[in-house]
């Protein structure tokens, strides 16, 4: 089960769709972990002939299947940060008519979306589909440090060590949700962490 139906939420929270194959002069597909499943579903031989797939496995075993799609160019890398220079170069070199497909975790999609928008890709040419982990990319509002792949609420800021609760307030600019000190009014009273949607 790698599709998750997000509950109704506040208006800053992004909404994701379902990838569909579109006409394009070229296709850039970026995914992490279970996002590979969405790429496997959307890929067509015609698309793959003009496709560049960038994949961050995060321990999942989809690489062979993605390679078997025979995209014109394939990359697998250890993290978004490692993949970013290649992604930026690809976006910079993009011609009119590029279609962008993003799939996987919110953190990956949010960051790749920003990179694409900054490169001037029209947002009507960018699609997203959430798959796999519902972990969040969190900004600590106090120290401003980002903690990737946060699975529990509350959690400990990986930079300043404060106990933070996970808000639904989301910044597209930062591609992150906001984390706020949970025990400011009662120091040391930190509830047992639970999964974010539990």
């Amino acid at each position: 089960m790698t599709k998750f139906t997000f509950p109704e939420s506040i208006k800053s929270r992004p909404i994701y769709g379902t990838l569909e194959a579109r006409e394009g002069s070229a296709h850039l597909l970026v995914a992490d972990a279970h996002g590979a499943e969405a790429l496997l579903e959307v890929a067509t031989p015609e698309m793959m002939a003009k496709a560049h797939i960038m994949y961050i496995p995060k321990g999942e075993d989809f690489e062979a299947k993605l390679r078997a799609l025979k995209p014109a160019s394939f990359y697998s890398g250890p993290s978004y940060a490692a993949a970013e220079p290649r992604l930026l170069k690809t976006l910079e070199d993009a011609r009119m008519g590029l279609q962008v497909y993003l799939a996987g975790t919110e953190g990956l999609m949010g960051q790749a979306m920003n990179a694409a928008m900054a490169a001037g890709i029209p947002y009507t040419a960018i699609q997203t589909e959430h798959r796999g982990s519902v972990a969040r990319r969190m900004q600590c509002v106090h120290c401003k440090g980002i903690t990737e792949d946060v699975e529990t609420d509350p959690f400990v800021c990986s930079h300043c060590g404060l106990n933070l609760f996970v808000r639904d307030h989301y910044s597209r600019r930062l591609a992150a949700y906001q984390g706020v000190c949970i025990d400011a009014e009662d120091p040391g009273n930190v509830p047992e962490p639970k999964g974010i949607y539990e």
Partner: protein, 355 residues
């Protein structure tokens, strides 16, 4: 009239205080005995003499000390003042609006002398006398928005208008009711309001945005908003919440009258001429419960409003835990008599508290 500026602090020893004049002109935000969110906007075309509505940008006894507090906040955290690259022109628009308004409305305190693009700005309370070239950033010590908002009380959000929406693309935010400019910058009207309870469902933000998009140059608007703050702390930022949050737990029945403050924001909206941006000054006024209680009408009304406020609002505004203690205090100032409509103190006509 000349203003006596207080020498006071909004942190540490909290020497902040309101003079009798400041209490009388405090913008009490409740026009009736209950409160709910609404599209409470009206034209900003002056108001009763000496009220906070009279001038375009109210300057009061707290001016000099508030500007000192702002400088301290910025020295600690420069991210409280940000402007996306396309907002520089709007910054000049804002600088012009404030300099022109203040020099016309308070000629004894501020002077603006313009000779073409060469401008001389004199700010007597802060001891500033600068000459610069309008629209040339290199001639000011800061960007135009930062320069002028270091000399103007209240926070400022500067909104770019495009795609039938407003975008928070610049701001100076050091006296905020617990929201982060650094987090919200770049968001649109619905996104930055996302955390507010109940108002989206009531259609308030859709109607409010429509109103704002149509604001014309020279026809500013205003509204009041409010929350509660323990101690006269201006910088109730989320950034520093892990430091100030604990102060909410220091209230006792003995100190609540002095420590608990009603925090009111006079929010105004001005269209800017060159950039077509909208500027949203958020001016914060603080008044302790005990000072508010010197106005019988406000004593009666504040008790009723706090008592009947929906739980969602008291929670969002961060005083749900302290509400019972507030009510124990406030009920002593509510004798059950009716109150006159409107926000003004009506000291001559409202009866004193029955004991």
């Amino acid at each position: 009239m000349t203003i006596q500026f207080n020498d006071e602090s909004f942190r540490d020893d909290y020497s902040f205080y309101n003079s009798e004049r400041a209490i009388k002109r405090f913008p009490f935000p409740f026009h009736e005995d209950s409160y709910m969110y609404s599209v409470n906007m009206e034209q900003h075309r002056g108001g009763p003499k000496d009220s906070v509505y009279e001038k375009r940008f109210d300057v009061d006894e707290h001016y000099v000390s508030e500007m000192r507090d702002r400088a301290l906040v910025l020295a600690d955290d420069p991210l409280r003042c940000q402007s996306l690259p396309h907002m520089t022109l709007a910054g000049w628009d804002l600088l012009e609006l404030i300099m022109v308004s203040k020099s016309e409305d308070y000629p004894d305190l501020f002077e603006l002398h313009r000779d073409g693009n060469t401008w001389r700005w004199i700010n007597k309370p802060l001891g500033i006398d600068d000459t610069f070239t309008f629209l040339d950033e290199a001639t000011l010590p800061y960007g135009p928005m930062e320069y002028i908002t270091r000399q103007a009380q209240g926070d400022f959000a500067v909104l770019d208008q495009r795609d039938d929406n407003l975008w928070m693309d610049a701001g100076m935010v050091t006296t905020q009711a617990d929201w982060s400019l650094d987090f919200d910058i770049g968001m649109n009207f619905f996104e930055w309001h996302a955390p507010v309870p109940l108002a989206h469902e009531k259609g308030i933000f859709v109607r409010a945005l429509k109103f704002l998009l149509n604001i014309q140059q020279g026809a500013p608007a205003r509204r009041l908003n409010w929350t509660m703050t323990v101690n006269p702390l201006l910088d109730t930022s989320p950034e520093n919440y892990h430091k100030w949050g604990i102060q909410k737990t220091t209230l006792t029945p003995e100190n609540i009258g002095a420590k608990q403050h009603l925090r009111v924001e006079l929010q105004t909206f001005f269209r800017l001429p060159r950039s077509n941006a909208l500027v949203f000054p958020i001016r914060c006024y603080l008044c302790s419960f005990q000072d508010l209680m010197t106005v019988p009408k406000w004593g009666r009304r504040l008790h009723r409003v706090v008592r009947d406020l929906p739980v969602e609002l008291a929670t969002y505004k961060g005083f749900i835990a302290n509400r019972p203690m507030m009510l124990d205090y406030l009920e002593n100032f509510d004798d059950g008599l009716p109150t006159s409509p409107g926000i003004w103190p009506d000291l001559e006509t409202e009866p004193p508290l029955k004991t």
